[in-house]
Chain length 215, copies 4
């Protein structure tokens, strides 16, 4: 799964010469918290987040009054508060790397760049949706979590056992456990009866079902 399959194409953008006030109004109206800053030629010049809008050059303020702030919000332009060193990604980047970048930099979105041009944006919400998809969270079925030996071939045994009972695996994910000699597997399975599947899986040597539920 690469960024290109989960990003939003043709993202909303904003002109660098808009005022902070207009940028904020546009974000509210469009219900977004970030906007890439783009001039007519599609080259991305920067990024503004809702929070950045208040980072408007307080050094140019002459007082702390609401009038001063009000004035700055109308006068100061997006280009003078936007982040210029934007962390970006590309279409062919694995999605987990995009998530990694967001987590490490505490940012909520990544503009997607091809040949210096903005071609998409991937956000926290896209990561959340993909996360749910990995668990087939919106599909019905049996959700089973197993623990087994942390070694080559174990996942093949488990998936084989499901297939042998005619089960269809709509999601499969593996994860680490505190006991590093073991590994966890979460499956979402349909087209098979709970009792039959339980029995089949419990026959796998070294593995045990630690949670099973109908969802």
């Amino acid at each position: 799964m690469l960024v290109k399959s989960r990003m939003s194409k043709y993202p909303l953008t904003i002109d660098p010469d808009e005022s902070l006030s207009d940028a904020h109004a546009y974000m509210r109206e469009q219900k977004v918290r970030h906007l890439p800053v783009v001039k007519s030629d599609e080259k991305m010049l920067g990024l503004i987040a809702e929070d950045d809008l208040l980072k408007a050059e307080p050094s140019s303020a002459t007082s702390l009054s609401v009038w001063e702030i009000h004035h700055l919000l109308m006068e100061v332009k997006v280009k003078s508060v936007m982040v210029k060193e934007v962390i970006t990604t590309t279409e062919d980047t694995p999605i987990e790397e995009a998530a990694h970048l967001m987590l490490d930099n505490k940012i909520g979105c990544l503009p997607v760049i091809r040949d210096d041009k903005l071609v998409g944006i991937i956000t926290e919400s896209d990561i959340f949706r993909t996360f749910m998809e990995l668990f087939a969270a919106r599909e019905k079925g049996l959700r089973i979590t197993l623990e087994g030996p942390n070694k080559a071939g174990e996942l093949a045994k488990v998936t084989r056992a499901v297939a042998d009972e005619g089960g269809y695996i709509s999601a499969c994910g593996t994860f680490n456990l505190e006991d590093t000699t073991k590994k966890g597997i979460t499956l979402k399975v349909r087209n098979v009866d709970r009792e039959i599947l339980s029995e089949a899986l419990s026959k796998i040597e070294g593995s045990s079902i630690i949670d099973i539920r109908k969802m």
Copy 2:
């Protein structure tokens, strides 16, 4: 994977009688954006997010001046601005359901409740970390994405092929494709040579490698 294995235990909390000003200072100092509101008996009374702090009863303000705001931030208490109808989860909830709740309600965290008491908190960052773990994003290996027929038994074939070459699968995830007759699989594999693995996987009927890279 259930909430209990990925939540933070013993989360920071705040007293309902703290001022908004003190609540904000505490959040900044602790670098958190949400705090469950708890009285001495551990019963959770509400939740405050950084953004909520400014929702302080503007109706009780008599002007829009910074002095009025300043005064309210020092006088108004957490209990009068906290969200009282908090969306919560439990330790035994599947993690994808927790993610689902956060996405649908546009919230950044979920307090985890047991017997009316707060026992943990799970946040966006926890979901991001789990997401990366599902892809074994921090482990080295070959990252392979395949497309194959969307039917029972396909995942078993793929994992078997890897196992037969001695490969260790550190991550496995399945995902939907636009073409619903097909399904995607992303694997992270180590202990096997790229050429050998490619050849083995390409022998699986109906499947094709659409991306392979060393990470």
Copy 3:
């Protein structure tokens, strides 16, 4: 001295449908702190002071954030924050009554009304300028302060003594003293020598010069 001789005619006004933001900008530009609110027919509808502009319906605010305030300043109109029960005066009012009204009500200006229409405005600065005029503060001369018996005829004696020496009185003011059997008189006099004037005034029975200075 009546209000009409010291007021400003044709005062600046503002339309009731202007925004608070525009009203503030106009006040700053024109360097005024108050504006009568007038519709096309010259009937005064209210008065706004710079400070009133921040009394903008905080009850209609949904948060204390600067964005909310910013929004209200642009959206809320002058008519919804103006003072409607305006304290006014007329052209034929003695100026000391106008001063009395301003002092008692802690207000900095009084619109001047004739037949329900706004014909002028009198401000603190007008009172200050008149105050200085009463002392001929901007004219050169001898400034003398005397104390004498608080009874009829005393002022006539003093002014006669000055006139007899050929002195021209450019200002004359009387004031009360703690000792209520006495009264103070301050004069500004020119065209007479200090020694000659002192001697002439010191001959008035019961009176004594308590201060004399060339200004």
Copy 4:
């Protein structure tokens, strides 16, 4: 009339190390708009006006958010925003000069200094009260305004005419007219009948009554 007879003695002061927030609260509580800044030895270090409190070093602010402002108001000290080059006066200054200083510098008060120490304060309100006193505004009587030739001896004639009828002059002020060959006189008189006084004054050659009213 000198500053010492109309100033307030022992004015309220504030310590230079108080926060802006505390200074504001104190001003509100005491209903003053200015405070001299004084250390224990009574030497005046500066002056703060309510408006100055918001001139708090916005250059040290890192954002325009209300939290930043809130923080600065609690952290920044009076000494860093007070006006250090204070315009002051002395006890022996004529009151009209004090008014002149306030008008020209658009300031609302003047600290009164003796030997580098603060001994009083004179404010706009003191000027207003003195203004009213000059007109005996709070005393009952006939208020008469006359116009007469702008030359020496005229005031003596007018005051003599009043005295000859047994009238007591509780206030007397002279003022300029647009026609500089003439001068205006306003008197407040009691103990004499309106008709008798009118007749007496109208006999003065060159003078005419332009307004007479009972107050």
